[in-house]
Amino acid sequence: MLAEIDAVHQRVWQAVSHYWEPNSVHGHGPDHAMRVYSMGLQLAAALGADPLVVGAGCYIHDAGMRPDVGREGHIERSLQIASALCEEMPELAGVRDLLLTTIRYHEAELAFPSPLPTEAVCVRDSDTLDRLGFTGIRMTLQYGVWMGRALCHPSDPLCCERAPDLSAFTMDYVRYLESLPQRLLTSLARSYSEEKQKQREFYCSEFLSSFRQGRMRNHEDALRLVMAHMREESRVA
């Protein structure tokens, strides 16, 4: 049974991977899909959700992003991609509505109807978790480079004494990420988020220290810092 589900997931990935690849340019490439997929299946197993739907939802949720316009309109496009896939894959036709629900409500900031199906909860929490910690900081920095946003406010780089200006400063967005864990819907995801929060706090303190020493001049410097920590993290694991 699991092998059959895995085979369906592989076919979904083959069908959508070309949508993800160009989005590496703003940090939402195939690596984001893979991490969300892996975490989504863990949550599905723990919560008793249908892994077929969760895996497919994770592989499609951000497929509607584009390298030229980024997030703008991406949920609508992801839904269109999912609808088209349900037409051509009989295995998905029977779970079409549930699959579309996982995609429609995958973003942590979006209001959702109650009760949200467990499968949608898994995709949503999994995506939110990937937006936290080093992975989330890297995506945020890459998105900032892509849209030509300034790295940080010149005198208040971590937005301690201002309201965050998410369209103006990337580090304001990094600061905003600390509000995401409270939007997680499952206790399991919340427990995973604790480590991610520590990563963010660690990164911010390192960032501030480098900034004060004049070594944090642009997004490239900030990305180098997070990549160094990610490499360190993978060695520890």
């Binding site: 069908a15 584009r66 390298p67 030229d68 316009v69 496009r77 609808s83 892509w146 030509g148």
Partner: protein, 263 residues
């Protein structure tokens, strides 16, 4: 007394940038895109109906895209595709469904798609990835470039995806798709698709000077990616739209001299 100044929708300013870079003249743009104030949408339906009847009389096939346009959105606008007179009722329902929303204008434009006429539409995404600058092209036959966003295995249009490193480099074709149920008479073979794709790229290459100038302008904003949409109908290339991560920033540039398009 305050004199009301007509608001030029952001989307129209995007099209005017194409005029500024000489992809088409202001008159051509005004002829290609029929604009109506949203409260005069009945006129749009009437004119579109008349165009559809003309097509029928002249045994032409066209598709029309109707867009609802607010003042301040540069893209992702609600739109309705129509090819047949029988779809006019659905168009009216579409316009009514959005009647209470904040749209200034309703537009429509036409593309010929008769099998006898060469008609393709596509999008070129220019990316500055770590591996260098690349151009990714997606093209479909006889359809709207908006359809590219839903490409999948049972896509109803012939489709080619290709990429190349930069200007002057040959394209490497990554994927060719033939619809399963294309009518035998109009069916395109993979070989013919590749050949027509090559022809389309040569048409684009002929406009390289203007394209390179526009790209140089967009590059000045240091975006990591942006795109151009095009149509080629009967050998005539038209650049019909562009998208960047921050269109407002581009349109605010002092280097653009946008003709306001209002008489």
């Amino acid at each position: 007394m305050k004199v009301g100044v007509p608001v030029v929708p952001l989307k129209w300013k995007k099209y005017l940038a194409l005029v500024d870079f000489r992809f088409q003249s202001a008159d051509e743009l005004a002829a290609d895109i029929r604009r109506y104030q949203v409260n005069k949408a009945q006129r749009l339906v009437r004119d579109l109906s008349s165009d559809l009847r003309d097509d029928l009389r002249q045994t032409r096939r066209s598709f029309y895209v109707v867009k609802l346009v607010p003042a301040d959105l540069p893209g992702q606008l609600p739109n309705f595709n129509i090819e047949r007179i029988s779809q006019l009722k659905q168009l009216v329902a579409f316009l009514n469904a959005h009647r209470r929303e904040n749209y200034l204008e309703a537009w429509y434009c036409r593309t010929r798609i008769d099998p006898e006429v060469f008609s393709v539409a596509g999008r070129i995404v220019f990316s500055a990835a770590d591996s260098g600058k690349t151009q990714l092209v997606e093209q479909l036959w006889r359809g709207s470039p908006r359809k590219l966003e839903t490409y999948s295995g049972d896509f109803a249009f012939p489709y080619v995806r290709a990429s190349r490193y930069s200007w002057g480099w040959p394209y490497s074709i990554e994927h060719v798709h033939l619809p399963q149920q294309s009518a035998p008479k109009s069916a395109l073979s993979k070989l013919r698709l590749q050949s027509e794709f090559g022809y389309s790229m040569r048409c684009i290459e002929q406009e390289k000077e203007k394209l390179a100038a526009f790209c140089e302008f967009l590059d000045s904003f240091s975006f990591k990616a942006y795109s151009l949409e095009y149509k080629i109908v009967a050998s005539q290339l038209k650049i019909i739209d562009w998208d960047t991560p921050n269109d407002r920033r581009v349109l605010a540039s002092q280097d653009l001299h946008l003709w306001d398009g209002m008489h």
